[in-house]
Subunit: 303 residues, 2 copies
């Protein structure tokens, strides 16, 4: 099953000719979860052939324009494309009135329901649970209330060994019961322990999105053991003071959080437009955390 992240925008507040403002999309089992929605997100989705109809929910970290200004255009387009199914938007409560006003003004007869779920920017909590995925939201430290998100596959049921199905002539009812943890009693009355009948599937995969935030070590507890961590790296290590005062991080700090998290892989991004070449940022991060990669618009990371 697909579990991959595509970078739609990797710039910070000022987009460049090569970097759109913030947006990532997670494809989890062919449902798309959009994270942030900077200006032009709908154009990037089309460019990278991500089906707009598959967007399930949108998660907005904070209400700055470079993370939100693509919402109205995207909603207008979904409407023109005939969407009827509910769109869930998770964001800080302050976004709801201005979003509604814009929709009223710019979208002609909205034909699908929008469910707005206000986020608590102070608590670490589960905000969505489906059959396939669990989404947690946790506090980041920016100039305004800001949330990070962790997407994790739901724990998978174990698989039944093929030879067990044949040997014990297991019915569908037996299989369901065994998958849920039961032992099996054969026709002769012999109890076969569950562990002899099953094997563990691949462990649930996970992806965390942390932008915008200044460096704080508790963040690593929210992203513990994550497979893929995206952590903003607006500045290089020489601008640590500027990073702190503007509520941002350096590439070194992003790498420290990846290391503290015991993440498998780190993506850095949200680069200040002053960096024409981000190699120095990548280099400084890799000193701390070698498995660091650079967010580039259109790049896809499979987990």
């Amino acid at each position: 099953m697909t579990f991959s992240v595509t970078i739609l925008g990797s710039s910070s507040a000022l987009p460049t000719s090569k970097r759109f403002p913030s947006a990532h999309v997670l494809n989890a089992h062919e449902r798309l979860f959009l994270i942030d929605c900077g200006e032009g997100t709908q154009i990037q989705l089309r460019k990278y052939k991500l089906k707009l109809s598959r967007i399930d929910s949108i998660f907005i970290t904070h209400v700055h324009g470079d993370h939100t200004l693509g919402l109205v255009g995207l909603i207008a387009t979904l409407n023109l494309l005939g969407r009827k199914t509910k769109l869930s938007i998770y964001a800080h409560a302050s976004l709801q009135p201005i979003l509604n006003q814009n929709i009223l003004f710019f979208v002609n007869e909205l034909n699908f329901p929008i469910e707005f779920i206000p986020l608590n920017s102070k608590k670490h909590k589960v905000i969505l649970k489906t059959d396939n995925i669990i989404v947690e939201s946790f506090p980041l430290k920016h100039r305004i209330p800001c949330n990070g998100f962790l997407f994790r596959e739901s724990p998978k049921l174990p698989n039944i060994k093929k030879e067990a199905i044949e040997r014990y002539q297991l019915s569908l009812t037996d299989i369901t019961s065994i998958k849920r943890g039961s032992d099996f009693t054969s026709k002769t009355g012999k109890v076969i322990p569950n562990t002899e009948l099953t094997y563990i599937s691949s462990p649930p995969r996970s992806y965390a999105y942390c932008s915008d935030t200044r460096y704080f070590e508790r963040l690593a507890s929210y992203t513990k053991d994550v497979d893929l961590l995206y952590h903003e790296a607006t500045f290089d290590k020489n601008l640590e003071e500027l990073a702190k005062t503007t509520g941002h991080s350096t590439a070194t700090q992003a790498a420290k959080i990846a290391k503290l998290s015991n993440a498998k892989k780190l993506i850095i991004g949200h680069y200040s437009s002053r960096y024409k070449d981000i190699t120095p940022l990548l280099d400084e991060a890799r000193i701390v955390f070698p498995e660091t990669y650079s967010a580039e618009d259109g790049l896809m990371f499979s987990i």
Copy 2:
């Protein structure tokens, strides 16, 4: 002096991977006049190396999202870039409250004045006159109030013939007076007629922008003898009825307006996303008006 138009967006309501929503920029003597401002306009301006600091005024035809949703992001970016000079926005009055609300919410401490000039969508009138350029606004026929714009260089003063300057030892005062139409009286008392001293500069160049509109012939009176006419061509001639009911035009109709206007050149654009290849639209327009060209994002037309 430069007088050129760059296409920033050539799609209609649904952008595609190759076409951004509506926006053109006119470079008139190194001042930029932005016409419409669909989502992503600021990204296109950067991509095509058009200096954001040179934007003088913005002209919005109508308040549909595909012509306006790039405004807030562009204004936020101009602010981050340190703009201090006034930005004039010409648009239907209904845009002002929602634009102001968005600026208040999304732009942190606006540091330059925005002058909002409401347009009359029923009258043909001059809306701006500078030393170099005159801008006229005129009614279009769309589903909501909509304006077209004509940009024309101000009439140029004649040039003085070099040999006249030498022969009659003309002073700066003489030259200024002759440029304004006076004859010249030489030291011997001989009157030299103005026509012998001057020659006419190149005639004022002009560009008209007509989108969105259904076909109506009076439009050609507003764009009479224009050098370059942009006229929307959302549909092909087989969809004339759909064009009429949605307030749009076919490529053939755009070409008819160009012919009736006695325009020198026509650009068609604002294509429905149903056309993957717009050659058929270009072909049908060229039957009526051979000097027709297709709007493509990034294309520049020098006049």
